[in-house]
Symmetry: C2
Subunit: 199 residues, 2 copies
DNA sequence: GTCTATAATTAGATAGAC
DNA sequence: GTCTATCTAATTATAGAC
């Protein structure tokens, strides 16, 4: 293997380990030593590839959001002004299924949103704004002129309703006895959220 | 002031500071030195009153949940089998208003739910289970025989939809330009969530 | 009851050998 | 490109003076 290949392989393994650690433990509780260990290398090598913990965190964010492009398909606009209800429901079901299968995305954003600092602003500017604008556009089509004013509430309401169950899977198991990550419960949750937003 | 009074005052200030720090920064990123500093005492005194960081965390949890008793009023059952729709909506609005004014509750639970450890289990057994059972009972009245199976989805769906906007207030300001903690936006969110759950 | 001093551990970042 | 060794700073917890 060439040095360039070796380089890319090591970086990829470090970023994978960083994504898992940041999503699971959060930024503060994650240690670069532990992340390096998960990737099978030493901490010294980690700082060779990523000069600071912040730089590693940004690489992890890029990796997480790269898995999202293109964004989950918005419901097709079938000629008329109004979006077809069942198509909107299916889009929401798809969103819930995605949240269930990628809990690291929500966990990562939630962790960054904790403090009003440079990392949050970078995440908003680099990855979140474009996705929010897409949802706001959808809200405008669903709610007409009121779209702009309901967009924030719809965005956080939908995201919270869709994602919290999977972000708190451990709590849910302890509290209710059910495992929310099973296909059956993912589908139940998708149906509930879809029916709540589009009755 | 007697020593007993002094003791209680110092403990109360330490617990108040701990609640703020654990909710704002999370357990790991909170330091006992900083918490002691916020309370105006030294770290040595903190460990005199609370032998470990874990013990302080449990005292903070007790304080947070003490503010919740009695639980937010459930809608009155007006004679019939079915709960009155408008009363159910008002109960949900009250829940959203409470979430908006006490973001530390959601932040604290969310932080504990991150890891499947002893702290999470203690929190579930000591404070969360009774509250969940109340919601599950409400679900049974709203949804009849299906209540038991939808209760977990309803609980996390409602909690997420109601609370996330305020838990991520800093992100919301950066992302949308609005401040979700204003009375106006709290009411908008309350109305949206109430109308979603009880159309 | 409160403080200062410190032990023991761990963190992120740096330097240099290979 | 990778590793070992080390620096500096911060952490929780402990011990003892007052």
């Amino acid at each position: 293997m060439s040095r360039a290949e070796q380089r890319e392989q090591t970086r990829a393994r470090l970023v994978d380990a960083a994504v898992a650690s940041f999503a699971e433990l959060g930024f503060d509780a994650s240690s670069t030593r532990d992340i390096a260990g998960r990737a099978g290398v030493t901490q010294g090598l980690l700082t060779y590839h990523f000069a600071s913990k912040d730089e590693l965190w940004r690489a992890a964010a890029d990796r997480i959001f790269a898995a999202l492009d293109p964004p989950p398909a918005a419901p097709e606009d079938r000629g008329g002004d109004r979006v077809d209800d069942e198509a909107a429901r299916e889009a929401i079901r798809g969103y819930v299924r995605f949240a269930a299968r990628h809990p690291e995305l929500f966990a990562f954003v939630l962790d960054a949103s904790r403090r009003d600092d440079d990392r949050l602003r970078w995440l908003v500017d680099t990855h979140l704004r474009a996705r929010y604008d897409a949802v706001a556009g959808l809200a405008a089509r669903l709610y007409g002129d009121d779209g702009a004013s309901v967009a924030p509430h719809l965005y956080y309401g939908l995201t919270g309703a869709a994602s919290l169950l999977f972000a708190q899977a451990a709590e849910c198991r302890a509290l209710t006895g059910i495992d929310p990550t099973t296909d059956d419960h993912v589908e139940r949750h998708a149906e509930l959220v879809a029916r709540l937003l589009v009755p």
